[in-house]
């Protein structure tokens, strides 16, 4: 018989896999915009965790959902400022390759 169920552990595993994919992209991508996108994937993995804990551990308090709203707010601000920084660097360097951003290295 097919036993298809869903529990807190399913959500935590999904979040762990998504976080791992995002971390892999952050560590191995050459384009700065791609790294920014992968950071978004990691933040979304955290949101899955927050909402899953909200449902299975503190359903009446809404702590997880409110925290998830703040995470989404900060992520939106982070994308805006991050893209602005990338555009400003591109204007100086004419490149978005992270390997060429080496002004702090001597």
């Amino acid at each position: 018989m097919l036993t298809l169920s869903v529990s807190l552990h399913h959500y935590l595993i999904l979040a762990a896999v998504l976080f791992g994919i995002g971390l892999f992209g952050v560590l191995t991508k050459r384009n700065a915009v791609a790294v920014l996108i992968c950071v978004e994937l990691m933040l979304n993995a955290i949101n899955i965790n927050l909402l899953a804990f909200n449902k299975y551990i503190t359903p009446g308090d809404f702590i997880g959902q409110i925290f998830a709203i703040f995470v989404i707010t900060v992520a939106a601000a982070e994308v805006g400022v991050g893209l602005a920084i990338i555009i400003a660097i591109y204007r100086n360097k004419l490149s978005v390759n992270l390997d060429e951003f080496d002004w702090l290295k001597w």
Binding site: L4, A16, T28, V33, C38, I48, A84, R91
Partner: protein, 176 residues
């Protein structure tokens, strides 16, 4: 046949389908070679994640997810790519030289958090999340969590001003 259909938990079916879509589209975000296609797969991933949030009884967060991530963030990233477009777009999303080291670290972190998450113990069947989430979230945000709420508003304002200032063209005689 009817007994079989009634025995399936449709929430579980929805969760597994959406989880598969999330993981596959997230992998494609990392693996495709054109960064515009990567952003399109990112939008697919975000919409599927909104579905996952719906299975977690978080309907307000799911709508915010579609509005903010699939709507605003993806469009903004596409505009950013347009402003910094250079050379061959088909080779715009490449890996650097640390693929194996980065892959190893990512696999280790995933395995560690997966193993740790199986050690969690919680009460078997929790009470349901209240039906009307928007009312509860609104009341809490404007009473108990009003200071973080205002700080978040200030953060958004600062980010807006900072983004405009950073992205603005710097004139050569700006300091005169």
């Amino acid at each position: 046949m009817m007994a079989f259909l009634n025995s399936i938990s449709w929430v579980a079916v929805a969760f597994h389908t959406l989880a598969a879509v999330v993981v596959i589209s997230a992998l494609l975000v990392v693996l495709v070679r054109n960064i515009v296609h990567a952003v399109l797969w990112l939008a697919v991933c975000f919409i599927a994640l909104a579905g996952v949030f719906l299975t977690l009884d978080a309907d307000f967060i799911a709508l915010v997810q579609i509005l903010v991530y699939a709507g605003a963030v993806c469009i903004m990233v596409v505009f950013g790519i347009m402003l910094i477009r250079r050379g061959n777009m088909g080779e715009s999303n490449q890996f650097n030289r640390q693929v194996f080291a980065g892959g190893g670290v990512a696999v280790l972190v995933t395995l560690l958090s997966g193993v740790l998450s199986f050690r969690i113990r919680y009460a078997g069947s929790p009470p349901d999340v209240p039906e009307n989430t928007v009312d509860q979230i609104a009341t809490l945000l404007l009473s108990k969590y009003v200071i973080p709420f205002e700080v978040a508003a200030l953060l958004l304002l600062v980010a807006l001003v900072g983004a405009i200032f950073l992205a603005k063209e710097v004139k050569a005689d700006a300091d005169s």
